[in-house]
């Protein structure tokens, strides 16, 4: 479980980027953070990761993150950042770094775990390729494999599908659902409101650095929050037995 209590972030003497943000992301649930550009979504993740100075507290499984040594923190929560590096290491070796908080030396079982993680994201065939030669989407899948290998109770993902193609995006959502079923706490920052509401159980909507709504995704839809807060139009599409909701920008508002 991840609890943020009264998180405030300010750079210098300027107005706070985040104001008094409080919410709880519960185990076995996917919590989406939604908001317009510049509302403080990525700043919130950086504050949770203790990367930037802030006031307020962040609790991970009832322990104060600020008081944990870095190694212990790495055993509690992991992060898939928005901007991914391209190291010269091979894909397999890069993904294996996800095991570094747990073990110093990698034996055969650990390399098998690396292969399973790569298999899960569909990149096993590229194991020996340098990460620097992979496409943006492949790199996102590679670092997802690293995150899965780190195997923490809390997973933070910042725009994880930004470079992924549609077919793997669907597979990626399945992986997240599997992790949710394993009891993981998943906190997801996403731009696509429709996908976020379809995938997540809970939603935290940020507006101007403060929490405008924190509750279940169903409640957010019932209250027409995407329409009122983000000025979007709701569309419903039916394909076979499935019904999908998606949103488009409201041209009248523009």
């Amino acid at each position: 479980m991840l609890e943020c209590k009264n998180l405030t972030v300010a750079y210098g003497k300027s107005a706070p980027v985040l104001r008094d943000v409080s919410f709880t992301a519960r185990p076995g649930r996917i919590t989406a953070i939604l908001g317009e550009n510049g509302c403080g979504k990525s700043t919130l993740l950086r504050a949770i990761m203790q990367e930037i100075p802030h006031t307020g507290v962040v609790l991970c499984d009832n322990s104060l993150l600020a008081q944990m040594p870095p190694r212990q923190r790495a055993l509690c929560l992991s992060l898939l950042p928005q901007h991914l590096p391209a190291p010269a290491l091979s894909l397999g070796e890069t993904v294996a770094l996800g095991l570094s908080p747990r073990c110093a030396k990698l034996g055969e079982p650990e390399w098998q775990a690396v292969d399973s993680a790569l298999q899960r994201v569909g990149l096993l065939a590229l194991r020996d390729r340098p990460v620097s030669t992979l496409s943006g989407g492949e790199r996102q899948r590679a670092f997802l494999a690293l995150l899965l290998l780190q195997d923490t109770n809390v997973l933070l993902l910042d725009e994880p599908t930004a470079h992924m193609d549609l077919s793997f995006t669907a597979e990626f959502y399945d992986i997240l659902r599997e992790e949710r079923a394993r009891g993981k706490t998943i906190l997801l920052v996403m731009h696509d409101v429709g996908d976020a509401l379809a995938l997540s159980d809970d939603v935290v909507i940020l507006q101007g650095g403060a929490v405008a709504f924190a509750g279940s995704a169903a409640q957010a839809l019932e209250r027409h929050l995407p329409e009122t807060l983000f000025h979007l139009c709701r569309y419903t599409a039916t394909g076979g037995e499935e019904e999908a909701i998606f949103f488009r920008a409201n041209k009248k508002h523009r």
Partner: protein, 332 residues
Amino acid sequence: MKFHRRDAVVLCGALLLLCLSAFLSLRYGSTHLSATAFWGALLHPDAYPHGALILRAIRLPRMLAGLFAGAGLALSGTLLQHATDNPLAAPNIIGINAGAGFFVILSLSLFPTLYSLTPFAAFGGAMLTALCILILSGRQGLNKTAVVLCGVAFSALFGAGISFFSVLNEDVLASYTAFSVGGLQGVTMQELSFPIPMIILCFAGALLLARPLQLFCLGDTLAASLGVSVRRTRLLALVLAAASAAAAVSFAGLLGFVGLLVPHTARRLTGGHVKRELILSPMGGAILLLLADLLGRLLFRPTEIPVGIFTALLGVPFFLTLLLRRCRHAGM
């Protein structure tokens, strides 16, 4: 990290080349020693006192100076490039060499007769500059860009200071030029008694830092999320880099090139494995400096060409060949 056959070949090859370079550095010099005299001086020094004296007093210190200066500067460059995630970081780029140079010219201006102060001034200047960079960039959370920019600013400041003293006191210019070009002539065992243990200590410390530094290749955010104390690791790496470079320049002068391009070459040969790079890079630096010094001694015998000139002449073609081969493989 998996150890491939290629890694074993590269490391063994470098070790063999290092042994060969060290042997050649002992074997050949401006004074000709026949094979009999050389082996005799080495195995029975009492029977060959002249050869033994040359080996003990001139060639051995010079060989050790080349070996450890090259290793120290290359180690420093490797640590700096990883700590700042900047391929252009090197002791001469981030102001450590300029700091050493400034304090040397200052000591030569203030105490012109005390040339023996030079190594201490160089070491003290380099460490003081590193300290200033760490304090100032520490106010920015030891941000990697802040470290490099502070270093570049100090480099410019000390560069101006060096020009100022050169114009003010032209008598010191000749002594300073000899130091700034870099060379291993006249190095004694006594001068090496402090820098060599220092460089060995820095090397041991660097190996201990290899694991967290490996995670730096993922960027600060991911490294921190994988349990690395980014600030502490960066601080330790910078201190080790500064101490290693300061120890090397204290007896070898301002050999800038080694600390910039040898780490690049080592990185290309080790495929991004920091620990292997931290082992290969000092070996590469030592090989380059020993061979460059040997050429400098032999090509225009008895005149000696400073080692700094030949490190560039030997290193640049090798580095460019490697770079072009990589580009061809990548289809660029």
